[in-house]
């Protein structure tokens, strides 16, 4: 409920008018779960931009995976992250006692939700692609029939880079790639394969 109002009144006007997005290949935007969206990560804006592209009707079904240590660091952030963004909390330093670290992501996919993952693990330096972590491989292996949509984002890292409080508007490029499945890409490492896909797409987004 909060999430829909928050997106209708604040996020969508902000992202679409103040920033502006240039979306290409929007036909690959998944409108039904289960689905995994994999994107590169440069800015807090990334999540808001991706979520704004979904129709309000299904925005509640789209869940970004986010780090517990950052997004749940105090009660305010916790309330905001859970109710206005709808994150799936992920422990970056998992404790074996709490079961499988990706269990909540599994639950979301079983629940036919659309999961957004940033396999770089953190925002990093502005507009620089860092090596992908391996979690995405494990996840795709567990769900070989769930499509994985690679998305390249460019420009958000200029608007609001890590460690900067000053927001400066730039148009944000979003380039969707065709969905891939774990089975089809057995040879080699799946997360390295996705990283290569997104790297190519970023080049294309830069034209």
């Amino acid at each position: 409920m909060f999430k829909k109002i928050f997106f209708l009144l604040f996020v969508r006007p902000f992202v679409l008018l103040v920033c502006g997005v240039y979306v290409r290949n929007k036909e690959y935007l998944p409108l039904q779960g289960p689905c995994i969206i994999v994107a590169n990560h440069n800015s807090h804006l990334d999540t808001l931009v991706l979520l704004s592209l979904f129709p309000l009707k299904i925005v509640n079904k789209v869940r970004p995976v986010a780090a517990v240590d950052y997004f749940m660091q105090n009660p305010w952030m916790r309330w905001f992250s859970q109710n206005c963004i709808g994150i799936i909390p992920l422990d970056r330093k998992p404790d074996k006692k709490n079961g499988h670290p990706l269990q909540k992501v599994y639950d979301a996919l079983h629940n036919n939700e659309i999961v957004i993952i940033f396999p770089e693990g953190s925002r990093g330096e502005a507009e620089e692609l860092q090596p992908f972590k391996n979690g995405i491989s494990h996840l795709a292996k567990e769900f070989p029939h769930v499509p994985v949509v690679p998305v390249a984002l460019h420009g958000a890292g200029k608007s609001l880079p890590k460690g900067e409080a000053l927001f400066v508007p730039f148009v944000i490029d979003v380039l969707f790639g065709a969905p891939v499945f774990y089975d089809a890409e057995k040879k080699g490492d799946f997360s390295a394969y996705l990283q290569e896909q997104i790297k190519i797409q970023i080049q294309r987004a830069l034209r």
């Binding site: 502006g20 420009g155 730039f170």
Partner: protein, 312 residues
């Protein structure tokens, strides 16, 4: 607001707008019905976008001077943002780009309160002197000259140049003719945009010789000359919207057609320099907003100063 709408559609501006809507309807019928199998999706999109542009312009710029300030300010903002997103920038340039955005608010405020002296020097003098100083405080010397120049150039084109439309709309009616700001802006924008369309139509029908193949391969000598002649005649035909005598109107038409062409190819230079075809996808079939306002960056200040010289 209804009253303003009624006022706009009666009298001289009403006839003029009627002609525009008739032309648009004809274009829609042509691409969607008569030539629906032959015309490309891009052409259809372009005609559809024209409807949105014309309606937004009438609602935004023609009804109320205060609303017009916000409307033209928004156009400057969108154009500047598109430009800054295209050009290469360093992370340290974020600071002066931020000030460039803030400058829009002041520029349009000076237009709104009709403080001409400040309006005309705010960007060419004050911002021009301030931005390098801000860069000095940041202290990133590598690429200082290129990046500061790029930002200043964008400000001149998309804020200083375009804001002349906003100042123009505040101009008081010239004695007997009764023609004032709203009529001038309508006259200028319609002729500038028609010039683009006519260059395209003349070029498509009889265009053979390329005029500047290195910059803009689709522009032809025939397109330019055809549009130049047609716009000169239309400028005289539409001169009831202005206080112009026939020869003043003829010169206005030649100025708008010639300068419009130059503005168009200057923005093409920018796009070729960066290596993109369209500047964005804000207006389906046209490209980005820069592709639509490119000619205006030249015609707006030149036509404004032509009026200013003749009557104010």
């Amino acid at each position: 607001m209804l009253e303003a709408l009624f006022g706009l559609f009666s009298g001289k501006t009403g006839i003029f707008l009627g002609v525009i809507f008739a032309l648009l309807s004809f274009a829609s019928v042509a691409v969607h019905v008569i030539l629906r199998h032959k015309s490309s999706k891009e052409l259809k999109d372009r005609v559809n976008s024209w409807w949105i542009i014309v309606l937004a312009f009438v609602m935004g710029a023609m009804l109320n001077t205060t609303v017009a300030m916000f409307f033209f300010g928004l156009i400057s903002y969108l154009a500047l943002k598109e430009y800054f997103s295209l050009i290469p920038t360093r992370l340290t340039d974020r600071r002066i780009i931020f000030y460039a955005y803030i400058a829009i608010v002041f520029q349009y405020y000076f237009a709104a309160i009709e403080w001409y002296g400040m309006f005309i020097i705010w960007i060419p003098v004050f911002l021009f002197l301030f931005l390098p100083f801000r860069q000095v405080l940041i202290g990133d010397t590598q690429g200082f000259l290129e990046n500061t120049s790029r930002v200043q150039w964008g400000l001149m084109m998309f804020v200083f140049g375009l804001s002349h439309l906003a100042y123009m709309i505040t101009l008081t009616p010239v004695k007997e003719s009764g023609a004032g700001g709203v009529e001038f802006v309508l006259y200028l924008i319609v002729l500038t945009q028609l010039n683009d369309v006519l260059q395209y139509l003349w070029g498509k029908s009889i265009g053979k010789r390329k005029i500047i193949p290195k910059v803009s391969p689709n522009k032809t000598v025939e397109g330019f000359v055809g549009a130049f002649a047609t716009i000169s005649l239309l400028a005289i035909a539409f001169s009831s919207l202005t206080p112009f005598t026939w020869y003043e109107a003829l010169f206005a038409g030649m100025l708008i057609s010639g300068a419009g062409f130059v503005g168009d190819v200057v923005i093409s230079m920018v796009k070729r320099d960066i290596g993109v075809k369209d500047s964005g996808n804000l207006l389906p079939g046209h490209g980005g907003i820069l592709d639509r306002i490119d000619s205006l960056t030249y015609t707006a200040p030149l036509f404004f100063h032509y009026l200013n010289y003749l009557y104010y």
